[in-house]
């Protein structure tokens, strides 16, 4: 199985799941599960298979030779980790939506798998045209997930999500075409290949504008303040599986774009843009945290906390030293687990209580102790408790960023305090206190949910206690990433 077959396999799995709903309501879920598990097994095999020139897998095939466009898929350590995260959270999403989705099961799983396929494409494509194709195409199934199975305001949220991403994507398209043209004028070769464009000579003025085109597209997806307003709506209105994928994976595509494309393609422009970008990152950290604290909606709070956490990634990428870059990558992965778990919890609560409003919660720990304990764990992870993955990521980003720019780092460090405030207030308002007199016991987590949550806990603890494997995997990329700087 090559990388292309992996993507096609996910796509085909989606198709089969959609058709299977005709003869059995349960079939689509099981098919999805089977597809994701076998894709995961393949990935495991590829990982064990080791690297060849730093790549675990590579696929190349000419596509539109007239424009130098090819299907160029490569998987290095960074891509491998992110693809693994994608498949794992895909599995989480399937499990999380096991009983939540009540209608059109086949179409739901279809959209889920197609989104995942698009994301895998984004994480592995190293042809800018192909990257853009995946970037846009993953939107459509995600849009349907929100628009069809979302909550009360799904129309508004889905539209906002689509508009933000699509419009910023147009800027990126313009930037991509212009970049290719600049390279063509300089070298006489039309090519969308990442490696070719990496060494393109670009006029500094032009590079600045091109970098901004990419930057805006990725910061919308990240999301960074002030382009974040789509996120709380989309996350809150999406069904649980949608939120898990959005927060766990789709935000990482933005972060990935920054680290893989923006800085390496335009090192000088990125250097010049360091302070504004880091300031935006710090602003996201603090402002996102501040907004999170003011929410009464469980899901919305978690959504805003994502803005805060992804701010660290922005900070780390543009600080651009080894510590910060490694920290940003760590933060991407750890945040994927912790937020996915919290969104799954929000979904589980909504399914049981039919509300996300924390003013109507309180005392849930007594009614569902297992859920309480699980939530406690992830809340603590999210506020950056040492020993868990998020701490490693945030701490390293701050250490690295401090060397690059003191002012923004100090501001961002305040975000850790804010994180403690909103995280604990989330816990307090929903789970602690005493339940109402007439409250009946809730259906606590069963084996299905506990298994998934347990796996994510193990992952976060492992990342927190022994993060070295992640650093080793990312090291070759980080080296080239830093090498791209003058």
């Amino acid at each position: 199985m090559s990388l292309l077959t992996l993507i096609l396999f996910l796509l085909a799995g989606g198709g089969v799941a959609a058709l299977a709903s005709r003869w059995n309501v349960n079939a689509p879920r099981w098919i999805s599960l089977a597809v994701l598990v076998s894709a995961g097994l393949w990935l495991l095999g590829t990982w064990q298979g080791g690297t060849e020139q730093g790549l675990y897998a590579i696929y190349h095939q000419a596509w539109v030779p007239q424009f130098g466009i090819s299907v160029q898929l490569e998987m290095d350590g960074l891509s491998l980790m992110l693809v693994a995260l994608t498949l794992f959270l895909g599995l989480v999403a399937v499990v999380a939506s096991w009983s939540e989705i009540k209608f059109r099961h086949g179409f739901f799983q279809f959209n889920l798998l197609w989104t995942l396929a698009g994301v895998v494409g984004v994480f592995t494509a190293l042809d800018l045209f192909l990257f853009f194709v995946f970037w846009e195409v993953m939107l459509i199934p995600m849009y349907f997930l929100i628009a069809v199975w979302g909550h009360e305001q799904r129309a508004y949220a889905a539209m906002k999500f689509f508009l933000f991403t699509q419009i910023s994507g147009l800027l990126m398209l313009l930037a991509i075409v212009a970049l290719v043209y600049v390279n063509y004028r300089g070298s006489g070769v039309i090519s969308f290949d990442y490696h070719t464009l990496l060494v393109a000579k670009i006029d500094p003025d032009v590079a600045w504008w091109l970098m901004l085109g990419f930057f805006v597209a990725f910061v919308v997806k990240l999301p960074g303040v002030p382009l974040h307003t789509w996120l709380p709506d989309a996350h809150t209105q999406a069904p649980t599986a949608g939120s898990v994928i959005l927060a766990g994976i789709l935000l990482k595509t933005g972060a990935y774009g920054l680290i893989r494309f923006v800085v390496p393609l335009f090192p000088d422009a990125a250097e010049a843009f360091r302070w504004p970008a880091m300031a935006l990152g710090a602003l996201s950290v603090v402002y996102g945290g501040y907004l999170a604290y003011s929410q009464t909606d469980f899901k919305r709070l978690v959504a805003y906390s994502s803005i805060s956490h992804m701010g660290f990634v922005l900070l780390g990428v543009f600080a651009a030293n080894q510590l910060a870059a490694q920290g940003a990558i760590m933060q991407m992965i750890a945040h994927g687990f912790s937020t996915a778990a919290l969104f799954m919890m929000a979904g589980a609560l909504q399914e049981r209580l039919h509300t996300r409003d924390m003013t109507q919660m309180g005392g849930l720990w007594k009614r569902a102790p297992r859920m309480g304990a699980v939530t406690m764990f992830f809340v603590v992870a999210s506020l950056g408790m040492p020993g868990l993955g998020n701490f490693v990521g945030e701490f390293m980003v701050l250490m690295g960023a401090f060397q690059a720019d003191v002012g923004t780092t100090v501001v961002a460090a305040l975000g850790i305090v804010v994180a403690a405030v909103y995280s604990l207030s989330l816990m307090q308002r929903s789970f602690q206190g005493s339940p109402a007199e007439d409250a009946e016991p809730l259906a606590d987590f069963g084996a299905r949910e506990l298994t998934v949550m347990g796996l994510m806990m193990i992952a976060l603890v492992a990342l927190g206690i022994y993060p070295q494997p992640v650093f080793d995997m990312a090291a070759p990329f980080v080296e080239t990433f830093l090498g791209a700087r003058p």
């Binding site: 209608f103 846009e136 069809v148 508009l163 800027l171």
Partner: protein, 483 residues
């Protein structure tokens, strides 16, 4: 006329013969099915002839028709549309009382007119082609004459179109006065410096008339009303063939003559382009009627296309601009026709108005999954989503714009496309709404409708996923164009 001339003219001759056969068949015995079958066969034969003559050496036949690969490409496009329209019209019209067979004669003549325009290199063939096409279209629009909206649309189209035609004719007369020739290549020539002003005004009138036919802002007023009132298959024909034919001709006119060196023409075309992209999309936002929405979106698309036309004068390799226009027109034709095909498949000449209000599309995904999926594909393509024809086309335009460094127009393209996302997605959202009462009485299902629109939608996807062969064909066809 030599044998080679006849060979080059084969598509035109075959279509004319088919037209005569059809006339005789209808005169001999009226039968809707037979008339449709004869027409489709004739169009298919012409399509085959066009494909066969595609590789032939470019020839100017009878001085007035330049039969090259460029014309052949558009002829194939027109014939495909005509076949689709006939297939869709069969079920659409079959409920209507009265004679139905003449409709197919009109489709054939309109196609012939469009084909003449694609090959025209002289004002005489220009006017001939344009009028043959337009006059057929007036009658096609008014074909379900028992209903009010088609009649209104036909009158509106007739009057306004005639005004545009006279403007064109007057412009041609002024140009002739200055240059003493009716060939496109002489459009910029001046026999006598005294007539400089005639040439200027003539060119302005000429391009103004063309802008009307392409429904560019500010000459767009007629479009939504005509789109809304016309029967859906005919709207599909107007939106694709009549626009494409005019644009193909305009491009040849611009490439052969030196109109694009006239700053007045360039500036006004640029203004039309920006206005069309922005205003067209803004007005589309406010529509709750799918046909009107598509009308405004087509205005915007014609605005995008002007980037390719203006690129002709600015690109280091003008051939790229021509290729961009051809690819865009092909993609635009496919996706627009898919959209109108879906509307036609949900409508009927006898049952009230066509399905076009947004209420009629609520929950269409669950009621009519195939039609809804095809419409969604068409709308995503019009939006410019990757893996659809619309993206390849938009990509070409952006590439042309970047090469010509036409940043103003590119910004308008980005802003226009950004606005357009909203209204296209809105329609798609409406189609996903759950559990809606089925308010619209379904027309009887035709045999050909769903397969036809599925074939079109698949075409949109194939062109988007694997455009390489089409790009190759276009690159070979434009070999000698405009040189």
């Amino acid at each position: 006329m030599s044998g080679a001339d006849v060979y080059s003219l084969a598509p035109y001759l075959v279509l004319t013969i088919a037209l005569l056969v059809l006339l005789l068949a209808v005169g001999f015995a009226r039968n809707h099915l037979v008339a449709t079958a004869v027409t489709v066969t004739g169009l298919l034969a012409t399509l085959i002839a066009s494909v066969m003559t595609l590789g032939a050496q470019p020839r100017t036949v009878l001085h007035l028709l330049h039969l090259d690969g460029y014309a052949g490409f558009f002829n194939i496009l027109f014939l495909i549309v005509a076949i689709v329209v006939c297939l869709l019209a069969y079920r659409y019209l079959s409920g209507r009382r009265g004679e139905l067979e003449e409709f197919y004669i009109l489709v054939t003549t309109a196609t012939l007119g469009a084909m003449v325009m694609a090959a025209s290199n002289h004002f005489a063939t220009f006017v001939l082609g344009l009028e043959v096409m337009s006059i057929s279209l007036y009658a096609m629009v008014a074909y379900p004459e028992e209903k009010h909206p088609p009649l209104e649309a036909a009158i509106k189209y007739l009057v306004l179109s005639a005004v545009a035609s006279t403007t064109l004719l007057f412009g041609m007369a002024l140009i002739y006065n200055a240059s003493g020739s009716l060939f496109f290549e002489d459009v910029g020539k001046i026999e006598n410096a005294r007539f400089q002003i005639h040439l200027q005004i003539g060119q302005a009138m000429l391009f103004g008339g063309m802008a009307f036919k392409l429904s560019l802002v500010p000459f767009h007023m007629w479009t939504p009303d005509v789109y809304q009132g016309s029967p859906a298959p005919v709207t599909g024909f107007i939106a694709t063939v009549s626009k494409t034919a005019v644009f193909a001709l305009l491009l040849r006119l611009a490439a052969d003559g030196s109109a694009l060196t006239n700053p007045v023409v360039v500036i006004s075309l640029s203004v039309f382009a920006v206005l069309s992209m922005v205003v067209g999309n803004l007005l589309a936002l406010r529509q709750s009627n799918l046909k009107r929405l598509l009308a405004y979106s087509s205005i915007a698309h014609m605005g995008y296309l002007l980037i390719a036309l203006l690129g002709l004068g600015r690109l280091p390799e003008p051939g790229f601009a021509v290729a961009a226009a051809m690819i865009y027109l092909a993609a635009y034709t496919l996706m627009t026709l898919t959209a109108f095909g879906v509307i036609a498949s949900l409508s009927s000449a006898q049952a009230g108005d066509d399905a076009q209000t947004n209420k009629q599309y609520l929950g269409l995904f669950w009621r009519r999954p195939y039609a809804a999926t095809c419409l969604a594909i068409a709308l995503f393509a019009l939006m410019g989503m990757p893996l659809t024809a619309g993206f390849v086309a938009k990509f070409y335009l952006v590439a042309a714009g970047v090469q010509g460094e036409m940043w103003m127009l590119l910004w308008a393209l980005v802003i226009g496309s950004a606005i357009s996302v909203y209204y296209y997605v809105k329609v798609i959202y409406d189609m996903t709404v759950n559990d809606t009462p089925d308010e619209y009485p379904h027309p009887t299902r035709g045999m050909a409708d769903i397969p036809t629109i599925i074939a079109l939608a698949v075409g949109v996807l194939v062109m988007g996923i694997y455009p390489t062969p089409l790009i190759k064909v276009v690159q070979t066809l434009i070999g000698d164009f405009g040189s």
